[in-house]
Symmetry: none
Subunit: 216 residues, 2 copies
DNA sequence: GGGGATATTCCAAGAAATGGGGATAGCGTC
DNA sequence: GACGCTATCCCCATTTCTTGGAATATCCCC
């Protein structure tokens, strides 16, 4: 396929991975060591960017996809220094399941053959799905994501929008205590203590979406 | 591509759709009417199955992917009666965004040409991505998003993970008041009042990612 | 050297969220 | 009819967050 490196991986910290997670790659060992030592599994810029696409993207597009921090630039710099050049990454996302991706890269200084993007898209996508099935990761996904009632969902949505319990009660036309109760139950079902994490989980599971929250 | 029908759609109830949502298809109008009348956007069995895959799947695999209810069987039965036969669906999932999919189907009684699965995968995937961008479902407003300092980002990340200010102060090894201050400034830069919305905005901007937050 | 951004710590008052109890009513299932 | 789920309301105590101030010190840039 005209590329030198491949990397198929779940986006977890492999230093302390506990659940089922897959990683297969042919990057230089020194890169994996440095990558793990810095706990990049969960915050690598390429991985972060992959959480914002449905299909493959060239690494050159990453700065347009996420906010690049100085560390992000340092990470990409390090990769280049170790010999990893331009790349193309295929995201893999299933609601409620560990995120992952499959990347292909050429050596530093080489040009990525754009005519192989489609092939990478296909190979990367099906390769990840195969790994996902082998690892049993998919058995831990949406099957056990909590189900909320309509009212609970409404309250979570307005809470994610930054409204207070009292404001929500006015918006929904119910009592203040009712809203407290709905959010209490929603937190219990998700097994979380804080409404910030509740909002995040509801977003991740597809219960609510950014467009629900941020419109207007 | 050897198929008769296509359907590219966000999984929402189009009777009461309010946000940006896309639907393009050439199914019979009677099917869309019946589909909407029954509010299937969110519970159609093909859509539900697509929430458990990262790549395309043949509709014949659906019973192995989700638990089929009697209603599900009735829905598929109705589709067949209207003239929709076997199909292949490509899921499209981005954390925090409305779920969607792109399907291809042959007429009732016809055989789906398996040799076109790969082509469907590619066309469906990129078609959905194109529709997603056109619809503004994802508007990359990276340019004018606030810039946080490293410490502020750390605090936002831990706050999104559901930690209290005091817990964060222990984790980061700084004073309790310092964390309060960082989050105060972070909220000011984002122009929000609540940490739940702060977490959502930071996620939306790509400052932090779901895999940063959720270990699993 | 001055200006600006950053990181750090501290105080205090009030608002809001959380966790623990309750209760009533409707609705559908077994 | 008993049971479970849902939605609605109420009380309490405690913790946590938010907002308004304040102060140092470092670092980089001009």
């Amino acid at each position: 396929m005209g590329v030198r490196y491949f990397a198929l991986s779940h986006h977890v910290d492999f230093r302390q991975a506990n659940g089922p997670a897959v990683r297969v790659h042919n990057y230089p060992p020194s890169w994996q060591e440095w990558f793990d030592a810095n706990g990049l599994g969960k915050c690598d810029p390429i991985h972060r960017a992959s959480h914002r696409a449905t299909v493959g993207f060239a690494w050159s597009e990453v700065p347009d996809m996420i906010k690049m921090t100085p560390e992000d630039r340092f990470v990409l710099d390090q990769a280049y220094r170790i010999g990893i050049g331009d790349g193309f990454t295929i995201p893999a996302s299933v609601p409620g399941e560990t995120l992952g991706s499959c990347s292909f890269a050429v050596g530093a200084g080489e040009a990525f053959p754009a005519e192989f993007h489609f092939v990478c898209q296909l190979v990367g996508g099906f390769a990840f799905e195969a790994a996902r099935r082998l690892s049993g990761a998919r058995d831990f996904g949406i099957a056990n994501t909590p189900i909320l009632t309509d009212r609970q969902r409404d309250c979570v949505l307005w809470a994610a929008r930054g409204k207070t319990d009292w404001e929500i009660s006015v918006i929904l036309g119910v009592g203040h205590e009712t809203v407290i109760q709905h959010l209490k139950h929603a937190r219990e079902r998700y097994g979380v203590q804080k409404r910030a994490l509740l909002a995040v989980r509801a977003l991740f599971d597809g219960l609510i979406s950014f467009s629900d929250i941020l419109k207007r």
